[in-house]
Amino acid sequence: MTIAVSTGPGRPAASEIVRRLPEYLTIWVPLLLSAAHLIAFSLWTIWISFTPSTLVPVTGWVGLRNYSAVAASRNWQIALDNLLLFGSAFVLLSLATGLILAILLDQRIRGENLLRSIFLYPLAVSFVVTGTVWSWLLNPGLGIQKLVHDLGWTSFRFDWLIDRDMAIWTIVIAAIWQSSGFAMALFLAGLRSVDADLIKAAQIDGAGAIRMYRRVILPTLWPITITVIVIQLQFAISTFDLVRALTNGGPGIATQLPALVVYDLMFQRSLLGRGAAAAVLMLLILLAVLLPYAAWRYIQRRRAKHA
């Protein structure tokens, strides 16, 4: 599409601005609004975390008291332990699942498009739906255990959902189901972009399938792997709706996660200041993941420019 604009010799700039006005409006207004929103509310939350606010925000300064209270609470400690376990198990297992699916799909099989859509489909489902469905599947009286019992194998037990020690793994299972398709898609794109000559060279060198993947193909995927890890980690850190729908932090507080603690403090116990402190701590954990990643990207880009 071309738009004819009469640019008078004296004022080409003004008509240019008018012509591009829709672009400016659609890009800059939402961008500025959301940036202001994000930054303003982050700063607001940080400020609240240093005040003695409870039900409503109040002014005042309590220093790090909210932080020490949160850090000392059993709820928060369990949430951190769970985050460590859930985060690492979820990231590693979804990475492995995604990679295996991608390698299998990469064998030029029939029905690849259908399978790819099926594996990716869970991404389109909201976490609340995932959590709810898995809470039914994993419920011993409703789901898998009942099915196997009804088939006649009555000694079968699969009650992780109500087991204090194992309940966190149900969240891992549901989260992997939800997002390993995403890892698969990224890995598959990476596998498909491997230089065809590289594979030919390895064939002539006599590398079998396993050696080909281990020594030649997979090493080219590590930038994608890091991207997947970072995206999955920030998902893990901010997980809320999945846990809320699946276990609601239970049994007891066995599957507590930081986001649930924030919600609990702010909206159920009306301790705004402490909730804000917990939220700021979550932000710091996120930054601990994202800042090194940003630095790594920066270094990569600089190196690419110099090469």
């Binding site: 230089d195 000559d197 590289l198 030919k200 060279a201 390895a202 064939q203 002539i204 060198d205 006599g206 590398a207 079998g208 050696r211 020594r215 030649v216 090493p219 080219t220 090469a307």
Partner: protein, 371 residues
């Protein structure tokens, strides 16, 4: 000994026939260049020889053994790719030893082989580096090292110099040629660059539309192109081709360019007896630009009176080493390579000496060489 023998090889993808009945015999120690424009099937042919692609029909024999169903690793070949295809996560040393590692060659033997090849190619200081830390020329050397270390029956080169800049390309061209002379390897080299073909090959296979147009040594390909395609593809600027009429008079055959025109050019031909049956008919006359020179040039080995014609000059391109002149012979455009210091003015008539001994005549219907 025949290193490679290809019989009635064809390859089709759905409705597209990429290779149509290729027959080639390549002797051990030869440097064979497959040359042709892009899409002529030369790379497909190389991939089939390597076993990376399957032929639709025909056989491939390497070292006297039919290898149609032999996987690439067991064909006793090594290949150098256009993109170099160095394993990015491995060091230069690991790149070179990877094939031996796959074949479970003992470590000590690997070390020795790497040392030899590194010395031969002068890449010893690079052995510890990753491919990303190498320049284009260095990568090229490492890729060759990876092929050399295998000491195969057959080396396959797939446009290995296309990604290098012009200066480096000339250097590497000479280096590959020197390497061939030193180790006496059998090489099949694919390129679209006819200068690479002319300079390096001991034999050239010119390919076009899935058919080998001519398979001969470089001088024959250049001097006696089998058909008009080869005549126009090899050489830069290419051979001038123009319609002409073949006549006979008391002294023998005469080729007339622009017959009937006031400025018609009559060229007496000697030693073109094979064309006698074309007397009175139209032919296509081919003459290389270097066979048209400034009027006072004496061609090497020429006997008898020089053939000089006066022709209008249309354009002059000084290149430094020579002057390219666009002129008209009997109304037909032709390019001439004349001495660099001779600069005829465009629009003027100027004398040109012709080397009529090196004229080629082609059949206008079949486009094949007559004489």
């Amino acid at each position: 000994m025949t290193a490679l023998s290809i019989r009635a090889l064809s390859k089709r993808y759905a409705n597209l026939e990429v290779l149509k009945g290729i027959d080639l015999d390549i002797e051990s120690g030869e440097f064979t260049v497959l040359v042709g424009p892009s899409g002529c099937g030369k790379s497909t042919l190389l991939n089939i020889v390597a076993g990376l692609d399957r032929a639709s029909a025909g056989t491939v024999e390497i070292g006297g053994r039919v290898v149609n169903d032999v996987p690439p690793k067991d064909r006793d070949i090594a290949m150098v790719f256009q993109s170099y295809a160095l394993y990015p996560s491995m060091t230069v040393r690991q790149n070179i030893t990877f094939g031996m590692e796959c074949r479970h060659v003992p470590k000590a033997e690997q070390e020795k082989a790497v040392a030899n090849v590194a010395k031969l190619l002068q890449i010893e200081p690079l052995l510890g580096r990753k491919p990303s830390q190498l320049s284009g020329g260095q990568r090229q050397r490492v890729a060759m090292g990876r092929a050399l270390v295998r000491d195969p029956l057959l080396f396959l080169f797939d446009e290995p110099l296309s990604n290098l800049d012009a200066k480096l390309r000339v250097e590497m061209r000479m280096e590959i040629k020197r390497l061939h002379q030193r180790i006496g390897a059998t090489i099949i080299y694919v390129t679209h660059d006819q200068i690479e073909a002319m300079t390096m090959a001991t034999r050239i296979a010119v390919m076009h539309r899935g058919v080998v147009q001519q398979f001969a040594d470089p001088d024959t390909v250049y001097r006696y192109p089998a058909n008009l395609f080869v005549a126009r593809f090899m050489g830069s600027p290419p051979m001038n081709t123009m319609p002409a009429r073949l006549e006979a008079d008391s002294s023998g055959l005469v080729a007339v360019i622009g017959a009937g025109r006031p400025d018609e050019v009559r060229l007496h031909l000697q030693g073109y007896d094979a064309a006698a049956s074309y007397v009175g008919r139209e032919v296509v006359l081919g003459i290389r630009p270097e066979c048209i020179a400034e009027g006072d040039r004496a061609f090497a080995g020429a006997t008898g009176a020089p053939v000089v014609v006066t022709a209008p000059v249309e354009m002059v391109e000084p290149t430094g080493a020579e002057t390219i002149v666009l002129l008209r012979l009997g109304g037909e455009p032709a390019q001439a390579r004349i001495s660099p210091d001779v600069r005829p003015a465009p629009g003027e008539l100027a004398p040109f000496a012709l080397d009529t001994r090196r004229i080629c005549l082609f059949d206008p219907e079949t486009e094949r060489l007559i004489a």
